[in-house]
């Protein structure tokens, strides 16, 4: 028995030595005609659902590119392959795996993990080794204040979530011949980093548009009731009520606005699609505006998948579920790499980084263009409105499939 164990230990040591000897090439990892990318994704743990969405998104992109012949770099076509590791939804493990991908597997181009937390753990590693990373699932604003040079994000940052709603309110006011400066804004945000980011974005737009804040409530994380805030809303009659507090905040706001018959011309919330308000709360959810990163009904189009709807169909066929935006933004991250490889004309890390930084690309997921901090400044957030129990895209107006119903009819007339 002891002998068996000993032999096994030697075998492991041998394998490690082999990996160390082979691993860590200085040039980009290209095996034959295949370029290798790496990603740590959450396949187990609390993010396992969205982690799988992320991986499926990457895989669909890889499959489509390879079917189309691959990426053309320097007159030659290369296939794409992604090495995945399971980060178990823990940041420390994510950072370890990033080190492993870079040092042992020799990966020189990284795709992002799922969630802001994991991205925050991995970005310092890719930055240290000067490895370009394009991510689609880390929206925290703090990611873009660190001066990272090798990280790029295709999704809109969290401060963008409800900005489109403020623009929409101003647009509607002008349509009715009112000055947007006369608009009164009521805000209720959960006191957590995400919602505070959302609040910062709204505040900037309120200032830019010259609107007036009449309520600025911060909901404590343990709160289960918004009656006090909504009583105030009834009293001051704002023109727009914005709420952010993940799925719980969305459910609470929609339910209590209806229960207390609060009349407000515009109600905008985040996460009401993940809270499934239209499905679970029925009529109470009608006319609510919901912020989202992407939707399949948008008229964005690219040369790989065609329209957003066509992407969604291919995805459904491959994985047998409706693609959530987490999958779409992951595919988009891969497309950014493909586009950059082709423009750089080589797999030289610095040239590819420069090409990514200069990206000006239209994808099925939306336009992609990075600012100096690496965030995508071209893609607006999408606003749904719940109409007849369905989520219909109403903004941005240019890409929208449905028309906004504004103002929301009072409860007495519903």
């Amino acid at each position: 028995m002891a002998k068996v164990v000993k032999t096994r230990a030697w075998a492991v040591l041998g394998a490690v030595a082999l990996v160390l000897a082979v691993g860590g090439p200085a040039s980009p990892k290209v095996e034959g005609d295949t370029i290798i990318l790496g990603a740590a994704v959450s396949l187990t743990g609390k993010y396992s659902t969205n982690g799988k969405n992320t991986q499926d998104g990457y895989e669909l992109g890889v499959k489509r590119i390879n079917e189309m012949g691959g990426v053309r770099v320097g007159g030659k076509y290369y296939k794409i392959k992604v090495i995945y590791y399971d980060d178990e939804s823990t940041p420390a493990r994510g950072a370890q795996l990033a080190e492993r991908l870079i040092n042992q597997d020799g990966v020189k181009f990284m795709l992002g993990p799922y969630s802001s937390g994991l991205t925050k753990a991995i970005a310092p590693v890719t930055e240290k080794y000067r490895i370009p990373m394009v991510e689609g699932n880390g929206a925290d604003r703090a990611l873009f204040t660190q001066g990272y040079k090798y990280m790029f994000a295709v999704l809109s940052t969290s401060d963008q979530y409800l900005r489109e709603a403020m623009n929409l309110a101003a647009e509607q006011a002008q349509k009715q011949g009112k000055d947007p400066k006369t608009l009164k804004v009521a805000m209720a945000f959960e006191n957590d980093p995400f919602s505070m980011d959302v609040r910062d974005g709204v505040l900037e737009d309120v200032k830019r548009l010259g609107m007036k804040i009449v309520i600025d409530d911060k909901l404590p994380p343990e709160i289960n009731d918004m009656a006090a805030t909504l009583t105030k809303v009834k009293a001051v009659k704002p023109d727009i009520l914005v709420v952010s507090g993940h799925a719980r905040g969305a459910t609470m706001a929609v339910r209590q606005v209806s229960d207390m018959k609060v009349d407000v011309p515009m109600l905008a919330v985040t996460h009401c699609d993940s809270a499934k308000v239209a499905e679970t709360l029925g009529k109470a959810a009608e006319y609510a505006l919901c912020a989202s990163q992407w939707d399949r009904s948008l008229s964005y189009k690219d040369r790989w998948f065609g329209m957003a709807e066509e992407y969604a169909k291919v995805f459904e066929k491959e994985f047998r579920y409706d693609p959530p935006y987490q999958a779409a933004e992951s595919t988009a991250a891969l497309l950014v790499f493909v586009d950059a490889f082709e423009r750089a004309g080589s797999f030289d890390i610095e040239k590819v980084r420069e090409a990514i930084a200069a990206t000006d690309l239209m994808t099925f997921y939306g336009p992609v263009k990075f600012d100096a901090t690496g965030k995508n400044i071209a893609k607006p957030m999408v606003l749904y409105q719940v109409q007849d129990g369905k989520y219909k895209v109403v903004a941005p107006t240019k890409w929208a499939a449905a028309k906004l119903i504004h103002p929301i009819p009072p409860w007495s007339k519903r």
């Binding site: 409530d217 911060k218 289960n224 009656a227 006090a228 805030t229 105030k232 679970t280 007495s412």
Partner: protein
């Protein structure tokens, strides 16, 4: 600065539209009634078994899930209140027989640790089994309008309030007049003497703990119809119940009710005037103030042996 301006604005609002105070008061009292249920149960267990049950909020949460799943299966949510109570009664009984009986006559810290452990296990189990999603159940009831629609009260809150009162009254009568109720009270007064008189205190403890779980289950069922449930909902109810019992004392069920309703209303006014972020802070400051005041009152009495 902005904070004070908004606060002054809010105060003016109340003066200009006194009807708003009525809305706040009504809402606060109705919220308070739900907390009263959790507090009843806690006072009962605390008084009879000398155990502070930290898992109180988790019982509320689980009661909510019972209603949610039955409603999803097609049962009208209002009829699931007794089912939630029954399910939680069984769970409470099982928990007593497996864990709680071991800590009943031990030091209070040990029982706090034990129930704290139970609360974590229930929370994580709920997260694993039911997922972290936010759930609601639709009672299908509308709203009541008063004063030209200026005061709106959702009917489900009224139902919850009435349920809370009925449950409270039933509990009171049960403790006062039934045989088991008398045994429970006797055990609360002096467990050892009760045992000598032939009371099966072990059974009394088990019933008390299960009864508490059942009350919380009913409360949870009302919570999911009025607001929402998710696996991490519990702490708010545990804390609130603890606070109410601390203010009201253990002996008197009526004072538990009044403390709950009063705190509910105070909380709502604080949320309106100071903004919701100071709502909880205000209520807990109030608790400190009440305790200090009561302590001062007590210290003025001269105590001596007769």
């Amino acid at each position: 600065m902005l904070f004070f301006l908004l606060m002054v604005d809010n105060l003016f609002l109340l003066f200009n539209a006194p009807i708003l105070s009525a809305q706040l008061l009504v809402d606060g009292i109705l919220i308070g009634a739900i907390f009263a249920l959790a507090a009843y149960g806690m006072a009962l267990v605390w008084g009879v078994m000398d155990i502070i049950n930290i898992a109180q909020g988790e019982f509320v949460m689980l009661g909510g899930y019972v209603t949610f799943f039955l409603a999803a299966a097609g049962v009208h949510p209002l009829y699931t209140v007794p089912a939630a109570a029954a399910a939680l009664y069984i769970l409470g009984w099982a928990l007593y027989r497996t864990v709680v009986f071991r800590v009943v006559d031990k030091d209070m810290f040990i029982s706090i640790l034990a129930t704290f452990g139970i609360s974590i296990v229930l929370q994580q189990l709920a997260n694993e089994l039911f997922e972290a999603d936010v759930r609601t159940a639709e009672s299908g009831l509308g709203s009541l309008f008063f004063a030209d629609g200026l005061i709106v009260v959702s009917q489900i809150k009224v139902v919850a309030f009435i349920c809370a009162l009925v449950l409270g009254a039933t509990l009171f009568l049960f403790l006062k007049h039934s045989r088991l109720g008398r045994a429970i009270r006797a055990t609360a007064q002096n467990a050892r003497a009760a045992r000598i008189m032939g009371v099966n205190t072990d059974r009394v403890f088990a019933t008390t703990f299960a009864l508490n779980a059942a009350i919380c289950g009913a409360a949870g069922s009302l919570v999911v119809m009025t607001w929402l449930v998710h696996p991490y909902l519990g702490l708010a109810y545990t804390l609130r119940a603890f606070m109410i019992v601390t203010v009201a004392g253990l002996g008197n069920m009526a004072s538990v009710v009044f403390a709950s309703l009063g705190l509910g209303a105070a909380e709502n006014f604080a949320g309106f005037l100071l903004g919701t972020e100071y709502q909880a802070a205000f209520v807990f400051s109030l608790l400190v103030a009440i305790l200090v005041w009561r302590n001062a009152l007590l210290s003025r009495q001269r105590k001596y042996l007769k």
